[in-house]
Amino acid sequence: MRRRLEALIERLAEVETVEALTELIHALRDNLDVEHVVYHSVNSTGQQYGILTYSDAWVERYLEQDYARIDPVVQGCFRRFHPVDWKSLDWSGKPQRTLLGEAIEAGVGRQGLSVPIRGPNGQFALFSVSDNRSDAEWARHTAARVRELILVAHYVNQKALELERGTDMVPVRSLSPREIDALTLLAMGYSRAQAAESLAISEHTLRVYIESARFKLGASNTTHAVARALTQGLLVV
């Protein structure tokens, strides 16, 4: 399961069209073993952008009723940066109960988890998964995957911004010389301990450099980060 998610993240890094991203979101749904995956983004001028696995009928209904106005998920995540389980939100109001009833009817599921992302220039995005498991099963299912979900949420958002605006508009996440040093040594076959010693830093420090570089490269793990950096011509080995 984990290896397949890593493979999906590697595919995500190579995505170049909205169609390919949509396909990938569907593959994520299967991999994460949930009913639905939803990516929804709003920029500072109010322009919306969504890639999701919901039925067209439900999306239409949601937009037509302008449910985002009263949706506890949207309200509860806006301007936040911690992952939010839908159970922790207030569904007690009448419009919220109506929305919930319709959502369950439409096959959204009775459970959900959302990762809010506060992007550049006032952009705001939500990456959500929803499902029909019981409370206990859902808690188990998500607890094992929250970290991956948080990472995937950010990678999908980066990719969506890149596709929406064209690569030239995305602020380049350049690697600093120390990150390049660290990845170069790993690419040359050094162990972490040898790389840290060679750079005269602690292994802890090296780990943070690599974690940082991995995120900037949209990579699934260290090996993938090294590969991405090599193909982008960032490393001279």
Partner: protein, 211 residues
């Protein structure tokens, strides 16, 4: 009690917020002599307070501030990447699993239990939201304090020497630290869980499932 409050909800706690920003002025401007701005109300606020950070605050029974700290994700604008890159080898530390912690502040008459409670609050955040690390900048003499409180950061870079050296450190979120911090803070595990749940749960009746 421990409160976890985003900046845009601070107006629901006017006394707590006002005393927090005043205690920050006392600690950072007056006592430590940092070059921070203090407004006409005697409050220390900076541009990062305007980015809707998440505060962990110890609230006293009278509703005033006992101590606090401030969290921001490292994938957004934050102090470590905008002011302290010389402490991280020039690396922009960026990961959704690493949050930065700044403005660790105590009211003048708060004791070590408040410090421990704040550390506990930071740990609850990290564990509750499945983070890997928190990163912060502090002067070297704080290392001894953190060690005594039971949760020592790993120093990943520093400038200067001796007690006054400025350090960047990483706190790893590890559940085995909880009992120690609970004991130092004089707080039960159940109490700590309740404080966290109260902050991040809308209402006990709130359930997406019609029962």
């Amino acid at each position: 009690m421990l409160r976890y409050i985003y900046a845009d909800s601070l107006d629901q706690y006017p006394r707590l917020a006002a005393t927090m920003f005043r205690d920050r002025a006392r600690q950072f401007a007056e006592r430590l002599g940092w070059q921070v701005e203090v407004n006409e109300k005697g409050e220390e606020r900076d541009e990062y307070d305007a980015l809707n950070p998440l505060y962990v605050i110890w609230e006293r029974p009278d509703g005033s501030h006992g101590g606090s700290m401030r969290f921001l994700p490292t994938v957004e604008r934050c102090m470590i990447n905008e002011h302290f890159r010389h402490l991280t080898g020039g690396v922009r530390i960026e990961s959704p699993l690493i949050w930065e912690c700044t403005r660790f502040c105590l009211a003048p008459d708060s004791d070590a239990r408040v410090s421990a409670a704040l550390m506990l609050g930071g740990l609850e955040l990290g564990l509750g939201f499945h983070l890997a690390h928190s990163i912060g900048v502090f002067d070297a003499r704080m290392l001894r304090v953190y060690r005594r409180l039971g949760w020592e950061p790993t120093v990943i870079g520093q400038s200067g020497e001796g007690r006054a050296a400025l350090c960047a450190g990483l706190w790893e979120f590890d559940p085995t630290l909880r009992p120690r911090l609970l004991a130092r803070a004089g707080v039960s595990a159940a109490q700590s869980r309740r404080w966290f749940a109260r902050a991040f749960t809308a209402a006990p009746k709130a359930r997406p499932v019609p029962a």
